[in-house]
Assembly symmetry: C2
Homo-oligomer: 371 residues x 2
């Protein structure tokens, strides 16, 4: 974490940098009148040392809380039976999750500056909510990812003549193989569509049920309170905002340590045992990004690309697992299983590719063990 | 093709460069007394302009013919029923194929300098022989390649605890997936072993039968004549060896054109339609190498790495086709088909990787279309 007073004028105005790795930006009215903004909304913010902890942390949390409540209202509007805006409802859910993640992350990182009992409780409830809301999106995303991969498999037709030479059994086998793969890919696609659509529908029902539950209303109430009043730790409110730098640095150090501990690149796509360490790095990168947003009032642009790579990594890991799970369906045809095997392997190769992109785009060269 | 008079002293002594892409070097006695060697055997050879065509081409063909006959004798010795040297017989077959390829390639490239009727006939017979002899080796190679890939698939065990977080269905699915893959991989391995061992045994019988046929004896007689007398085109023998440069340059130009026409890298592993163009480049690279050996009396070291990449490319293409063919076995279990699908995909990714290595190691940067 760069300390704010290390900021130089050569840095591009960070507030203008798009947050490419996250869900859509908050609705336009977030910048309108009456909306709370950080003091640096115009990109002219100086060091935070002369601000109080409350002046830095509370506006951020209040803004996220307002986004949360606005997204919730939008979701209710677009989920009305007469409304055909399934897309808008999904966008509202994404914005809701986005705000929930930022509140939760800030409660975690800056716990010492907040009422700890309140922070722990709200964080646990936001984690419950985020988990439920994320699932529907994840299944939809997984299905479209796998269907697209299958489409590429059975995609370009073979030319009529192969020319050059008959490579043993090669040429004929390839043509037959492609045809067999086409049949298997179609059946695998249908199987995955059934499985993941069912899972998605169940998740959708679970999300709607959660959003109507008394447990959710308690969360919404807590966030509504947060939008007006941030419960700081006793004696923190008037203290200098420098007190936020140490926890923010710790978040960065945890990220750097996790990245440094990532297993070296061995180009072995079936090392599922390493997935967890990469997922952990993804979560820590997020926490660092949110802490950076709080302290510097802007996203950290150098982490957009590696963050995106870690998102793709997670998606490919879960898509590979979904292909493997579908292959365990009883009584499927060998051609279907074959196509699912190809799919599994392709997704695991995508896992490797995402790791490679992360290594290439990771800006802190010394903290990354490469082969 | 560099003209010999363009050779500079900064070039590493090319005669010492190992021929890494080919089968084992000819037996040690090839360099002993009584063996014909090119005038540059000590690495001190100058331009060939002051040599005759016969002085350059004939010794090369005679040497390859001698290697052919020596390998044939070794093969007969090691194939005796009392002899346990299956390995030695295989090494002798490789040396036989190596010499046959070089004779055949030279007859093709330098056809204009030779008795064309004789050259065409011997080349056709050598192609027949090479094809039969190559098959046994190819099946054995394919099997070991696929078994090794399967071994990697079911290789490292998952750790007992996954830690960090439960990623939806991910963690459990991965463990189950790995276990299911292990079972399928073992069955796929057994299936491939049955199929390819059978094919290999048949090829072995076919090779033995061919080596005992009157057709083969006619080839061996022709090569024995070649070892003492090279039938040059009328009027060629005393002409200057510069006449060999033009066909050698044409061989190089065909290679450069084929490489330039290779499809650009689209990182799409299932483009079997492009395999043929890559196989063609491999054959033309060989012809260029042999022509280079004739004219410069040495292997071209800069083409060792791309040549090796094209060999790996061919192996991976054929291994992928073998996995696909095995998956079409009737009544196989879905788990077996699944593992074969993974195997197919992995081999196709190896195809892509070999193409990438070729692009990286190809020394003529301008002649290669990259994305």
């Amino acid at each position: 974490m760069r300390r704010p007073d290390q900021q130089t004028t050569t840095r591009p105005t960070p507030d203008a940098a798009p947050d490419t790795t996250s869900s859509p930006a908050p609705p336009a009215e977030a910048t309108g009148p009456g909306t709370e903004r950080l003091p640096d909304a115009t990109g002219t913010r100086g060091p935070i040392g002369d601000l109080t902890t409350e002046a830095v942390l509370a506006p951020y949390l209040r803004r996220q809380a307002a986004d949360f409540l606005r997204s919730l209202r939008l979701h209710h509007e677009h989920s009305a039976p007469a409304d055909s805006g399934g897309h808008d409802a999904a966008a509202a859910t994404r914005a809701l999750r986005r705000a929930a993640r930022r509140i939760s992350g800030s409660l975690h990182t800056f716990r010492a500056a907040l009422d700890p009992h309140w922070a722990d409780q709200l964080r646990a409830e936001l984690a419950w909510l985020s988990g439920i809301l994320a699932r529907e999106h994840a299944y939809a995303n997984r299905l479209s990812r796998l269907v697209e991969a299958l489409h590429q498999l059975s995609g370009p037709a073979l030319p009529a003549a192969r020319g050059v030479r008959a490579a043993g059994e090669g040429a004929t086998s390839d043509a037959q193989g492609r045809a067999a793969l086409g049949v298997g890919a179609a059946r695998a696609g249908a199987l995955l569509e059934r499985r993941l659509t069912l899972a998605r529908t169940r998740s959708h029902s679970a999300a709607l049920q959660a959003l109507g539950s008394s447990r959710f209303h308690a969360v919404a109430d807590a966030v509504a309170l947060l939008a007006s009043d941030v419960p700081l730790a006793p004696g923190t409110a008037g203290g200098t905002a420098e007190a936020l730098l140490e926890p923010a640095e710790r978040a960065e150090q945890r990220l750097l340590a996790a990245v440094a501990a990532l297993p070296p690149d061995d180009t072995e796509p079936y090392n599922e045992a390493q997935d967890a360490a990469w997922h952990q790095a993804r979560l820590l990168l997020r926490l660092h990004r949110y802490a950076h947003e709080v302290v510097l009032g802007a996203v950290d642009p150098v982490l957009a690309a590696p963050g995106h790579a870690l998102d793709l990594h997670r998606d490919a890991v879960e898509a590979a697992a979904a292909a493997a799970a579908a292959a365990r369906t009883p009584r499927i045809a060998p051609a279907t299983a074959y196509a699912l095997g190809v799919l599994h392997a392709d997704q695991r190769h995508d896992v490797e590719a995402a790791r490679a992109v992360f290594r290439e785009t990771w800006p802190y060269a010394t903290a990354l063990s490469t082969p």
